[in-house]
């Protein structure tokens, strides 16, 4: 059997694949954070809670309204994104002129409120969300058994990442957005409704988190605390990629998923810390992050 650093090739390939699947999640979540920070300069600490709300909305929508997975994948981001827009319009906008730290505190506080409220009603054990029928079963890749659903997650998350990148970097709307954050007064003078643009952008970032939440619902037990542990990792990914860099967030997310996956084979005890080690290294060598522009 071919061995790679003392690990059979099959196991190595399997871990690489799983790392890629997890990485796609990191990419999707850090992308939302990067969009919100890059364009609005808000450090959105409620991102994990918004991801969790996405999963919960899918669960409760199915339980009480009979909304199936595919419909949820479309509807939940709209609903949770809309909720995000209300947050921006009535709370975040009031402190937009203050230091970033206030936005961080506000979103962190909101996240604690969302989590605490749901813990009160649902506990922390979590509930199961059934895998949609079309995606049950698995694919035999030769070196591993890959559940079909995980393959779908990889495809769906990457497609959404590319779509977002395209929207922001390659369309007229994206150009308005980038210009609006660069010089909002000038944009307003041209007749563009900048406050509306900002609300929509925040809503879009939140919708991305909710989309990731729906994708995660069949994978992990849906529980109020599912977002908080992930959030720290995702922030580390954004810092490594460079705050506000869209492409950076996507590539770093995938890369960190793979690095974490391989750590789980070679030294599992460190798998929770390896991303932070990388973060420290990157901050020492390239303080603006791998893809960030020096400020």
């Amino acid at each position: 059997m071919t061995m790679i650093f003392g690990v059979p090739l099959a196991v190595f390939m399997g871990q690489l694949t799983l790392g890629l699947v997890n990485g796609a999640f990191y990419a999707l979540l850090s992308l939302g954070l990067a969009v919100i920070f890059g364009l609005l300069k808000i450090v959105n600490f409620a991102h994990g809670a918004q991801y969790m709300l996405g999963a919960f909305a899918a669960l409760l929508g199915f339980r009480y309204l009979g909304i199936n997975y595919w419909l949820a994948l479309f509807l939940v981001p709209l609903v949770v994104g809309g909720f995000g827009m209300l947050m921006e319009r009535f709370l975040l906008r009031r402190i937009a002129h203050l230091d970033h730290l206030y936005g961080l505190l506000l979103t962190f506080g909101l996240a604690l409120i969302f989590e605490g409220t749901l813990v009160n009603f649902f506990g922390v054990s979590g509930a199961r969300y059934a895998t949609p029928e079309a995606l049950q079963g698995g694919l035999n890749l030769g070196f591993m058994f890959l559940p079909t659903y995980r393959a779908w997650v990889l495809v769906a998350a990457l497609a959404m990442c590319l779509f977002t990148w395209f929207m922001i970097e390659r369309t007229r709307l994206g150009a308005y957005l980038r210009a609006g954050t660069e010089n909002s007064q000038l944009m307003q003078a041209f007749g563009v409704n900048v406050p509306l643009l900002i609300t929509l952008t925040y809503g879009f970032g939140v919708a991305l988190a909710a989309f990731a939440g729906v994708l995660a619902a069949p994978l992990y037990p849906v529980s109020p605390t599912m977002g908080s542990s992930l959030l720290i990792v995702v922030f580390a990914v954004v810092v490594i990629g460079g705050m506000g860099s869209i492409l950076g967030a996507i590539l770093t997310g995938l890369g960190m998923g793979i690095i974490e996956g391989l750590t789980k084979v070679y030294y599992p005890e460190a798998s929770n810390t390896v991303i932070f080690l990388v973060m420290i290294l990157v901050l020492m060598l390239r303080p603006a992050g791998l893809f960030g522009k020096e400020a």
Binding site: A10, L18, G116, G123, V124, S125, G126, F145, Y220, P268
Partner: protein
């Protein structure tokens, strides 16, 4: 004159004696209140197995006891240890220094319990550990200041692992939570498996808590072991079992053995993915009339059926209060001796008694998760297969490393 003098002296003596009698009677219960601290994970991974439900169970015990001991009211303080040994130890230090707390109950994550019992030993307090699993709590970490109530890793291994090996599951791969509890369980399971002719072929120590188990399940599949043993608890176990079913672990001929499974875990996972699982438990709500009666009262308060930990918190609090009443004091040393003197026989504990190492031994049960067809209701989840008698279930004192045991 002599008469006068005598009477005077006598009356002074009587007065003095009576004041002394009165003051000792009051001083016996410090601050004229029995103060109990409830310390547990109220918001994280272990919330549902103890958490706020455990606090309710403790309140039920206090209310059933009448709310006071010999006229001194019983007061409960509670705090969230967030599964952090530092937070737990500091909370208990503050409770003892500033609030004169007489007993600390709850105590879930083993790492927290070990830290807290050290603080209790330094400050001559009293703790009753109900939620923790590590058998080291009454072995190398034993103190004269705490009692371990509900279960520990020794009977878990002794019950589940032994039964699984006897059914032919003789090669094991262990997924271990990387902290005190997981290490203790791993050691106890390894001993039992090897003593019964089985073999541990591999294992992974994963960080606590972990949400994504796919990588570890893949390693377990690659190991070729017949049994994948889960030496973890709470949400970690739930995640591991969910992931194992997604990766078709059981279809490929391997079997899962959950070494610490709580009622709320099975409830969360559903019978579809847990049916047939063997487990060892200290108590089950539906095991007899007495248990059912208490559990239904609990259900009315909380809306969920109690876990063995929550029932154990009621049982231990009740036993503590009875001991305080019998001893007429809340002095930790006296109360602990009094608790050990009284046998424990209630809806929770059968043939219960407290050993010199602080281990409360009682009958344990080997149970199996029902199939969806067998279950008649949301909480009808276990079938009790056999009873493991109290004196066989726990680590024998002859193997003890506890400093309180003379070997």
């Amino acid at each position: 004159m002599t008469f006068m003098k005598k009477t005077l002296t006598a009356s002074i003596a009587v007065a003095a004696a009576s004041t002394m009698a009165v003051s000792t009677a009051h001083a016996e219960i410090s601050d004229n209140e029995v103060r109990i601290g409830y310390l547990a994970d109220m918001s994280g991974t272990y919330r549902d197995l103890a958490g706020p439900g455990g606090e309710t169970a403790m309140e039920m015990a206090v209310a059933d006891f009448g709310g006071s001991v010999n006229g001194s009211p019983i007061v409960i303080f509670s705090a969230d240890d967030r599964n952090s040994a530092d937070v737990g130890a500091n909370t208990v230090r503050e409770w003892i220094d500033q609030r004169n707390v007489d007993m600390v109950g709850g105590l879930v994550a083993s790492s927290v319990s070990i830290a807290v019992t050290k603080v209790l030993e330094e400050n001559n307090g009293l703790g009753i550990v109900s939620g923790s699993a590590a058998s080291s709590i009454t072995n190398e970490h034993c103190t004269p200041n705490h009692i371990h109530w509900v279960y520990d890793t020794y009977p878990l291994a002794n019950g589940t692992a032994k039964a699984v090996v006897e059914q032919g599951g003789d090669s094991w791969f262990l997924l271990t939570a990387d902290y005190a509890f997981g290490h203790a369980l791993e050691a106890d399971v390894t001993n039992v498996v090897e003593a019964n002719g089985g073999e541990i072929v591999g294992g992974v120590r994963h960080p606590f808590p972990t949400s994504d188990f796919s990588s570890y399940i893949l390693q377990a599949q690659g190991s070729g072991a017949k049994i994948v043993g889960l030496a973890n608890a709470g949400a970690d176990t739930v995640n591991a079992i969910t992931t194992a079913s997604q990766f078709g672990l059981t279809q490929s001929g391997q079997q899962l053995a959950g070494l610490l499974i709580f009622l709320n875990d099975v409830h969360a996972l559903g019978l579809e993915s847990t049916q047939g699982l063997l487990l060892t438990t200290g108590w089950y709500w539906n095991m007899d009339e007495e248990s059912r009666e208490w559990s239904e009262r609990y259900f009315e308060e909380v809306g969920r059926m109690p876990t063995m930990v929550q029932a154990g918190i009621y049982s231990s609090t009740m036993h503590y209060l009875k001991a305080v009443e019998a001893a007429g004091t809340d002095d930790p040393e006296v109360v602990r001796a009094q608790m050990a003197d009284m046998p424990i026989e209630d809806f929770f504990a059968r043939n219960g008694s407290i050993r010199e190492d602080g281990r409360m031994i009682h009958d344990m049960y080997l149970a199996q998760v029902k199939t969806p067809e067998e279950s008649t209701g949301e909480w009808d989840l276990y079938e009790i297969l056999s009873t493991i008698p109290a004196d066989e279930a726990y680590r024998p004192l002859s193997d003890s490393q506890c400093k309180l045991v003379q070997n």
